[in-house]
Point group: D2
């Protein structure tokens, strides 16, 4: 049924501002869906890894919120959506005091990266890779080539980070926050890993691999996370996709999308689900062209929208 999407001619472009992403193959496609019983459905034949890019903003927020408490995080970053481009500086200066609007835009994510537990860049990055490993059941590491290529051209992000520091919204040094943020963007995983993270969020923090029913994160953290994904997860197209797809999602310019389904049925899968999507060609706004197309069709067909 979704063959038409998968085999359609490639549209969009690769994320050319990150040199390491500009060279990959254009026609990769992979979808991995998993439900709370562990049932699995896949589409496409790509089995490799992608880097998290902006999807890492979700994981950083979860780790920071659960270690510090949401209220501490909210002192440094709001949770309000914004219609601005994802890396806007204007908004920082116009708004009172320069407080970043939400953890899903670069300014907010750089602030959150600085709040992660640990006193060094390594410790902060490890707090997130450890969390991801706990959910996926395997090790994750930073793609150093991608990280380095992002660091070399991070002028706008470094401008934002300095601006945040000037207004006292960063813990530690500017370079620590920036390096932490960009290392998190460069963590590698598969669509299976994305799906397991999506399911983890959908279940408010349960692990498939653990028999006892203990939520690893608070219900409050899970709710804030899903609300942020719904209202700000897809850059400037968040509102459109809330209407046409209607599930909490977060995309990255690597072409990945992380999705959570609160309740649904897709073939033999049922109840809460996580969906990991990957297709590297992105549109002007930064979302995977085929990925979003696929998600619109599957949401429509299986009536997945919360609305």
């Amino acid at each position: 049924m979704f063959e038409a999407v998968i085999s359609a001619p490639e549209k969009g472009h690769l994320a050319d501002y990150i040199p390491a992403l500009a060279n990959q193959s254009k026609n990769l496609f992979a979808v991995y869906i998993i439900d709370e019983k562990g049932e699995v459905l896949t589409f496409g034949d790509f089995k490799g890894v992608l880097t998290l890019q902006s999807i890492s903003k979700v994981m950083s927020f979860i780790v920071a919120a659960d270690s510090l408490g949401i209220d501490q995080v909210l002192e440094k970053v709001d949770v309000e959506p914004t219609g601005d481009p994802f890396n806007s500086i204007v908004r920082l200066e116009v708004a009172e005091k320069g407080k970043p609007f939400n953890p899903m835009i670069n300014a907010g994510a750089i602030t959150v990266a600085s709040l992660l537990p640990g006193d060094t860049v390594e410790a902060r990055v490890k707090s997130v890779t450890d969390f991801i490993s706990q959910v996926t059941g395997r090790e994750h590491s930073v793609n150093q080539e991608v990280f380095k290529s992002e660091m070399e051209t991070a002028y706008r992000n470094r401008a934002i980070a300095n601006y945040l520091k000037a207004n006292d919204y960063l813990r530690g040094t500017v370079e620590e926050a920036l390096e932490t943020y960009l290392q998190l963007c460069s963590i590698e995983l598969t669509t299976e890993d994305l799906a397991r993270l999506g399911l983890f969020i959908a279940t408010d923090g349960l692990l498939l691999t653990v028999t006892e029913n203990k939520n690893l994160i608070t219900r409050k953290t899970a709710r804030y996370t899903k609300a942020l994904m719904m209202t700000c997860g897809l850059y400037n197209a968040s509102g459109k996709y809330a209407a046409t797809i209607g599930i909490p999602m977060k995309s990255g310019v690597s072409g990945g999308v992380l999705c959570t389904v609160q309740n649904g049925q897709i073939e033999h899968l049922q109840g809460r689900m996580g969906i990991g999507v990957f297709s590297p060609m992105i549109d002007e706004i930064g979302n995977s062209v085929k990925g979003m197309d696929f998600l619109q069709r599957i949401s429509e067909h299986y009536n997945l929208s919360v609305f």
Copy 2:
């Protein structure tokens, strides 16, 4: 259980920039909940009417989208949330071409008001009061005193409307669009009416009063409406309430809130529900203080959040 909220000391302020609203009693409170079987639950003892104010933005959008088609409406207004104050002009000029961001901010709602069916202000206003009457089963009219007091001090809204006209986002004249918009803001109804409208949206357009199962609006219109309420329904606090309450809502500075519940159980009520809330004291952002407090508690207690 909610007595503590209802009887708490009044906080916030009345909407003093609208003279007719600045004189009402501070301690009014009313909640009306109705489910898809017609079961009802109420709190508070206020039985009177309130004016829709910004809640009218929801009805205008439904009528315009269902008469013109969503795609026609989207040519003149986006559906992207924004972290800006509800009456910001800055955003219009900074964004390319001055297109209003969404129908829940004043700029977008003035544009939508100009797109309503009919060639006169009267006809356009009637298209909305007729729609509301169809849902509530009774007549609705414009409170002329409130309308006039708003017209007299509508400098910012008139600035916005002229700006939209200059950029070709208004049908007809500036004064027609402005008058239509402000008349819609001044439509009177009760919390029961709000609840019935909320239920109508929750059911994607079913009427309680009609036995046959025919949706009056398209599923697409209903979804866009709910997504807009979730992402932009509560001014600059939309993100916060998406996290803490988690249902599609729209508030007005008169102190009313319209809510839809997709699926829940509140005492003997079940399934899809509409909730109408009214308490006139509002906070800095424009939302009813007691109203939002009540909604946070009832959502928490009955687990109404979609997240």
Copy 3:
């Protein structure tokens, strides 16, 4: 020596957003220079009239400042230059309190128009035409066709005026201020009249026609006027022309330019001078293409710059 400028092929465009200006001949050219002894030098053969457009901002400021006192005017408008387009709204909202930056941009000029002496639009317009007549020695009237065509499409100016009113920077009603402003823009005069006004400002308020040496305006008003012309008189190119021409000037989209020379010698003319220039083709920024070209050459050749 200036023949090359005058006979050069036409570049730029007519001010097409004002219907009445979009139809005139493209190749008109006129320059009138007069010194404090009444000696005259002219270039070009056009003898007709032009409308003041933005040049009227200078006259309004002089009349308002001299009747109210500069300090009263400064309570409602600053005198700081700005690099923004002449009709920007953004600046009004970003700056604290929405105070207009200076009387040479539309926002400031609309405020100043509302401060003119008199209780009606007619009286306020007359206060300025009377002032001009006193200087030029002949009657001046408003071109009603130009005025009407500007009123019909004045959406941005009306947006600005409503915004100013919302922030309490307008005296009287929005429509009065707007109508006064646009009538002033539509006052007709010749390049000789412009030159006499330029000389009047250069001499801090002396009249050629009067033998006794009595300044009609205060030295303070004259200085503020010249400083405003130098720092903000040519829209977004004020800085460039301060460097390359270096005399106080004010242009209008009708293609006119009013100039004052503090001290100089041009052929047989000496000392303080006024220059009136007219050529209707304007550049992207709004300044007369041939007019500015002529002024650069004459300033260079006769060393007229104050710098």
Copy 4:
């Protein structure tokens, strides 16, 4: 006659955001005036040094313009005044392409610093200290303590520099441009040196110490410099002081002011003059309180304004 200013109680504050400036004595005062014949007039008894701070923007511009040619510099920075705070980022993003508005705001000055001749920070700083030494006849060096304290807290400037780099308005690295800029800000000199620099600019590049009449800089560079000082030299108060003082000036937050007089008579001094002023208490905008007060009185008394 100016005793009242000099002995008035101190108002304003020291530039506390630069630690090394926050500790100096409040009641220092020095004025040095020199004319083209070398005649001198002084006020106040302070003989020490100050750091250039923003006054260095004038020297950088002169050196860059004279070595590269004005047109090359104008490709990377405009010469248009702006009403924004001196370190605004907003303007960079709103304006097309992020081009800095003029060399007198931080963004423009950081760009100009990157264009100075030489391939290293040292060489670029030396190009400016050499120029200053040529004019003053003595060696100048960077106050390393001030430079270091500025580098440590340069978050906003580093944000601006990264933003400029992202938009391709910087030559070399961000850190080179920033370091060059802040070293230039920390060059030490006396009010006599400031006066000699002011005279040098007033005479379009003549040196008192040299008998032959050879201008060291082009007339074009001198004119652009004076126009920039007049339209943008005093931060957001440039327009006000153009009206009330009316000579090209540039101030710094160290409390210094550099002034040029094109033609005047002050006691036994005549013709072109330079004025150096120093008093460390500055107002909200960043200008020396006593310094500006003194300049307003002397300009008024000796009629120094070009208007």
